[in-house]
Symmetry: C2
Subunit: 401 residues, 2 copies
């Protein structure tokens, strides 16, 4: 059995980012940039006013001075003259500052009378002027390659004058659930059977991680059926199976796909829940064989598949984001397997998050996992920890997982 | 001018959740449940084995006992007999425990010889048995109404045997950018003009908040053009405008839409950036008039539009999630307007997030906003705060905003 960290490193090391594609900027939210985006213009293109008011020469504007208003220049309607001594130009936020002017008099500090304006607050050189390029200059990198694009990035790319963006193709993930006993929701349930939840939960998790799920038909616990279903993964970036890893005395996945050329890297991780996890490669396609148990399947997917989706998407290889919280109740010492305790988060009096593990951690309790806000990470041989101790957690609530 | 909190309360009070629609479970990730989802079956449906091994009567299983193996029952292939004294049934994780049995002997604690099995570890009543309904019982609420569905919820709804889910319709948000000076990315830029970034950033933010954006054509700074463009919002749940709130001496939005029956609730908030913000109602449609400045537009959208999308989606009325971080540098005292400082987050040595405001907070610097991880919330008249002080922040990085 290998450690969680080693398993993740080996899984991620076998993955490469998808190729890039060109998409409209309007479709780019949440996608990962495949190339850096550079500014196609300078913003602002010239010095502009930061306020509504009057452009003038500061040396013309001691308190009490009266200037001639020679024009009116709303944003988008620049005034093309040059300001002479004793002159002022009416302008607004975003208006170009005309040549000859070096200061802006706020409209609330001015008294307008016909074509003249009185200065009520001595002008200061440079005041209320935004310099050309203050936001960015032509050629500046606005967004680096390999960044998941936020709404703010989309705005910045638009401001940089790009209608199209180059992004990594969303990873396609084939999901193959196996088992004689499972049925799709709403379909007849075989005797002794249960409804398949893994494929649906995993497909949602793939979507949360920015991928596209291809849910293959359920395969019976039969070598030929599993091998045939797995052929459906041929145009996908990764094949994820659930179940079949330890069916009676058999490891059906290894047996079925062995005939198709499966090369196994490892198949056991020192963790709970979810010890049996196959990592390998089926020809060109990386394979992640998750446990059939729904809780184990989802937790191993959060620990390994979500980071795998990130790497396939062009993001750096990394574990799920870990933060800290104070224990709301004591924890016993852990054994040799890394544990992932389902837990609730609350906010302590001082604003620190407080995390409390559910009392029963049975890996068949899907409802409890759904009600969890976080997983408490318990490393192998972690000593007992008292209430109030800071422990590492993975938040599930904020990521839609 | 009203406070940020009062503005948000008034905006949210005018909104109602969208009606519900039925969608396939496979499309339900990130949607908000419109009704509670109850279990259509009991899980597990009967007592099942938690491990691979043998079912037996505990009273038959002192260490050293030898039992007759009367059958083999993989998960999905239940054995329909009743176990008699001296008998054991080979079964596996998830197999139904037969009548007559009350304990599971682990396969690693058993020695199998032909049709007999020797007990190597004394059996304990109830051990390794998952009781019927341990996860949930028929009729239990699996997911309440008004919850944004995670991948785990999707799995749980599947396990509860639902192929369809009732969710709130995704809110439709009409976005209307106004201004003589703005052009779409890649289109010819008028003299003195800039590229429109607001519509695109807001559309992405609507998507991040679970809504659908309808980006209306850009309207010139002209009453008739603005009124005509706003008619495009008729089938939307909310109309968001940007710009036009203070164009020269005019408030074009109020003037243009006043003729269409706009009723204004308020139009100024004591905040920075983004003082001019119109809230009102255009006939049936709530209107949010955001500032034209890209940074002000995005920050007011994060503070007001994202919570509005939540309410329209069927979630509770709430401000954006606020957490705490330690100041990485001193902050000056604040004036009478609530401020929202663009800032970077790092992780302190003790694991607490550290937040450091950018030195220059000009509201025209979109790139700096895109590079920010968080906004530091500075209430009106907040006193100066020294490095190390805990301050409230809104994280932008984790929400795709």
């Amino acid at each position: 059995m290998i450690s969680v960290d080693e398993a993740r490193e080996r899984i991620l090391a076998g993955l490469a980012p998808t190729a890039s594609e060109i998409i409209p900027l309007a479709a780019a939210w949440g996608r990962v940039s495949a190339a850096s985006v550079t500014a196609r213009l300078t913003q602002p293109p010239q010095d502009v006013s930061a306020m509504d008011g009057y452009a003038l020469k500061a040396s013309d504007g001691p308190r009490g001075a009266v200037l001639d208003v020679v024009g009116n220049a709303p944003a988008g309607h620049p005034w093309h003259g040059s300001l002479a001594t004793g002159q002022a130009l009416r302008l607004f936020t975003g208006s170009f500052v005309p040549t000859g002017a070096d200061s802006i008099l706020l409209q609330e500090d001015a008294t307008r009378t016909g074509a003249r304006v009185t200065v009520n607050e001595t002008a200061v050189p440079g005041r209320h002027i935004r310099r050309a390029g203050q936001d960015f200059a032509y050629g500046d990198v606005l967004v680096p390659a390999g960044k998941r694009l936020t709404a703010r990035d989309i705005g910045l790319i638009a401001a940089g004058n790009h209608p199209w963006v180059s992004v990594h193709r969303a990873p396609r993930v084939a999901i193959l659930a196996t088992g004689d006993e499972i049925a799709l929701p709403g379909e007849p349930i075989p005797p002794g059977g249960i409804v398949s939840s893994n494929s649906h939960a995993l497909a949602a998790l793939v979507r949360a991680g920015g991928g596209e799920a291809v849910v293959l038909p359920i395969a019976a616990d039969d070598r030929a059926a599993i091998a045939a279903a797995a052929d459906g993964a041929k145009t996908c970036d990764i094949l994820v199976t659930t179940g079949g890893a330890s069916v009676g005395e058999h490891d059906l996945i290894q047996e079925a796909l062995g005939a198709r050329g499966l090369v196994v890297d490892f198949w056991k991780i020192a963790m709970r829940p979810g010890k049996p996890l196959i990592h390998g490669r089926l020809g060109e396609i990386p394979l992640l064989g998750l446990p059939g148990n729904p809780v184990s399947s989802l937790i191993t997917a959060i620990l390994f598949l979500v980071p795998a989706l990130a790497v396939l998407s062009g993001l750096p290889a990394a574990p799920p984001p870990v933060s800290q919280a104070k224990l709301g109740a004591d924890l016993a010492a852990n054994d040799h397997r890394a544990d992932h305790l389902r837990a609730r988060l609350t906010l302590g009096a001082d604003g620190t998050p407080v995390v409390t593990a559910f009392g029963k951690q049975d890996s068949a309790m899907l409802r409890m996992l759904a009600e969890s806000d976080a997983l408490i990470l318990r490393p192998p041989h972690a000593p007992a920890a008292a209430m109030g101790t800071l422990v590492p957690i993975v938040r599930l609530d904020t990521l839609g997982l």
